[in-house]
C-alpha cells in the first residue's frame, strides 16, 4: 500500500510559505520516495528552489516512514534546526503532515498533494484499489473494486458508456465492469453480477472516523 502524491507547483509552495522565511524541509523514505515526490533527491532539489526564492533553509531530513511514531524521534533529533525555523515544508504525504503536527507547534506546510492510496501492481504502476468504503464487495466482483475501478463507482453493472471495453472518460482506461464480467465469467460466477446491489450506506462509520483498538 502506498500513498500517491504529486508535487505542488512551485507557485503554490511559494504562496504557502508567504511570510515564512526560515524553512526546515522534511521528506519521507517510504511513499514519496517511491513516487519520487519527496525522497532524498527531491528534498535536495527543493532546498535549492527555496534558496532561489530567497528563503533560509535551516536544515532537512528524510524520515524513514513519516506517518509512523518514529517521526517523533526524528523531530527530536533535529530539534535545534526546527526550533530556528519559521515552518516545516513537508514532502511526505498528508499523513506525515498530520504526524508532524502532533509533535511540533510550528506550521507544517505540505509541498505535495495527496492523491490516493494505491497498490503497486507491476513495478512503477500504482493503481488505486480501495476507497475504504466500509462495505467490501470484492467477493462479489471477482476482486475488482467497483468503487475505485469504475469512474462512477457503479455497483450494479456497466453504464452505457462502455466503449469496446474502455471507460467513457478515457479510452486508455479499462471499463471496470468489462473486467468484472470477464473475470466472473472465467470463474463461472456470473450469477453474482445478476444480483441486485442495494444503495450503499455512506455512514457505516460516520465522519469524523476513528477507532480504538485495545
Amino acid at each position: 500500500m502506498k500513498s500517491i502524491t504529486k508535487q505542488k507547483s512551485i507557485e503554490d509552495i511559494q504562496e504557502g510559505l508567504k511570510g515564512l522565511d526560515r524553512i526546515f524541509v522534511v521528506g519521507c523514505g517510504t511513499c514519496t520516495t517511491m513516487t519520487k515526490t519527496g525522497g532524498i533527491e527531491q528534498v535536495e532539489e527543493m532546498k535549492e528552489r527555496l534558496q532561489e526564492m530567497g528563503k533560509r533553509v535551516t536544515g532537512s531530513t528524510v524520515i524513514p516512514t513519516a506517518c509512523d511514531d518514529m517521526t517523533e524521534v526524528a523531530m527530536k533529533e533535529n530539534e535545534q534546526f526546527i526550533r530556528s525555523a519559521d515552518a516545516i515544508l513537508s514532502m511526505s504525504c498528508a499523513l506525515g503532515v498530520h504526524r508532524m503536527n502532533l509533535y511540533i507547534n510550528k506550521p507544517v506546510i505540505p509541498a505535495v498533494d495527496t492523491l490516493f492510496i494505491a497498490v503497486e501492481e507491476t513495478p512503477g504502476y500504482f493503481r488505486e484499489a480501495c476507497a475504504q468504503c466500509g462495505q467490501c464487495l470484492l467477493g462479489q466482483t471477482a476482486g475488482i473494486c467497483p468503487l475505485t475501478a469504475c469512474h462512477k463507482g457503479l455497483v450494479n453493472g456497466p453504464c452505457g458508456g462502455t466503449n469496446n471495453g474502455k471507460c467513457e472518460v478515457d479510452k486508455d482506461k479499462d471499463c471496470a465492469w468489462t473486467l468484472i464480467y470477464n473475470r466472473l465469467k472465467e470463474q463461472g460466477r456470473l450469477d453474482l453480477m445478476r444480483q441486485y446491489q442495494p444503495p450503499r450506506n455512506h455512514h457505516i462509520v460516520p465522519k469524523p472516523r476513528a477507532v480504538k483498538i485495545t
Partner: protein
C-alpha cells in the same frame, strides 16, 4: 390522472416518442416552440437532464412545461447530480404537477461535460433509482418511512444494443426488467440486422422497447458518432450514402434514412416503437415521421 404514454404502450400500437433538450439559460422560446411542434404528433416527449453533463435548465422544469401545454412528458432523471433525497423530492414534486413518466439513467460522467470540476454524485444508479420509484409508488421512501401520498409513474430505462462487449450490458438490462422497468428506449441504432438480433433476445422479456433513432445530419456527424460515441455504430454503407449527396442535401438524406429505418422497424414489427432524437434539429422530426409514413 394516469400516464397516457403508458396507455399507448399498453395499446400495442407503434409508439413514437421524441426528445427536446432544455436551453442553457432562461430563454425558453425555442424550447417551448419545439414542444409545441411535437406535443400532438408524438406519444410523449423526453426532456433531457443535463445531457452530456452540460448544465442546463432542469428536466423537471422542462417536463412541467410539456405538461402545462397539454403534452405527455417523460422526465429524464440521471443519478449524476442529485443524491437519493434530492431525487426522491423531485419525484414527489413531479408527481404533484402531472408528470407521469420517468426515464432512469445513470448519467454521463462529469468530466465529459462543461463543469469538469463538479462532484459526480452517483449515490444511486439507474437500477436503484428504478427500484426507488417502485418503492415510492408503494408509499415508502428510501429511508423506509411512509409517504403521506404516494407517487404513480411509468418508469423506464435505457439499453445500448450496440455496446461492446454486449454481455455485461444485457445482464444490466435484465436486472432493469427485474426491478420493474416498464419500457426501454435504446441508444441510437443504425444496423438493423444487429438490432433485429438484439430484439430476438429482448422480446421474451415482454417490456416494450423503443428503438433510438438519431438523425444523421451530415456524413461528418455520422463518422464522428461511430468513432467517438460509446455504443453507437453507423454502418459504412450509410456513411457512403450520406457522402454520395451534395452537402446541402445531406440533411434531407439523413431524414430519409431515419424515415426508412422507422418504416422498416414498424413494417416487420421488430420493436414496440421508436424514440426519435433530432439533437438540435427538432424541426426535422415531423419530416422524419412523414418519411416513415407515420
Amino acid at each position: 390522472m394516469v400516464s397516457r404514454f403508458k396507455e399507448a404502450l399498453d395499446s400495442g400500437k407503434f409508439v413514437i416518442t421524441s426528445e427536446v433538450a432544455p436551453p442553457k439559460g432562461t430563454n425558453l422560446e425555442k424550447f417551448l416552440h419545439h414542444i409545441d411542434l411535437l406535443k400532438d404528433r408524438v406519444d410523449a416527449i423526453n426532456i433531457t437532464d443535463h445531457q452530456s453533463s452540460v448544465m442546463r435548465f432542469p428536466s423537471l422544469g422542462g417536463a412541467l412545461a410539456v405538461v402545462e401545454k397539454g403534452g405527455e412528458a417523460i422526465m429524464q432523471m440521471t443519478c449524476r447530480d442529485r443524491n437519493r433525497m434530492a431525487l426522491e423530492a423531485d419525484l414527489l414534486f413531479a408527481y404533484t404537477r402531472g408528470i407521469r413518466n420517468v426515464l432512469c439513467l445513470t448519467g454521463d460522467a462529469v468530466p465529459v461535460g462543461d463543469h469538469k470540476e463538479a462532484m459526480g454524485v452517483f449515490d444511486l444508479d439507474s437500477l436503484q433509482l428504478l427500484k426507488t420509484i417502485h418503492q415510492m409508488m408503494d408509499g415508502q421512501d428510501l429511508g423506509g418511512n411512509n409517504l403521506d401520498g404516494a407517487v404513480e409513474f411509468c418508469a423506464g430505462a435505457i439499453v445500448t444494443p450496440e455496446a461492446q462487449p454486449i454481455e455485461p450490458q444485457l445482464i444490466k438490462f435484465e436486472k432493469k426488467v427485474e426491478v420493474g422497468a416498464e419500457f426501454f428506449q435504446t441508444q441510437a441504432i443504425y444496423d438493423l440486422d444487429n438490432f433485429t438480433k438484439f430484439m430476438d433476445y429482448a422480446r421474451k422479456f415482454k417490456t416494450p422497447i423503443l428503438a433510438g433513432i438519431v438523425l444523421l445530419s451530415s456524413a461528418r456527424m455520422a463518422r464522428y458518432m461511430t468513432e467517438n460515441v460509446p455504443g453507437i455504430f453507423v454502418p459504412q454503407d450509410l456513411i457512403d450514402e450520406l457522402t454520395g449527396v451534395p452537402k446541402e442535401e445531406m440533411l434531407a438524406k439523413g431524414i430519409e434514412i431515419a424515415g426508412r429505418t422507422i418504416a422498416a422497424l414498424k413494417k416487420d414489427a421488430i420493436c414496440g416503437g421508436v424514440h426519435i432524437m433530432a439533437i438540435g434539429r427538432e424541426e426535422a422530426v415531423p419530416d422524419i415521421m412523414a418519411a416513415a409514413g407515420l
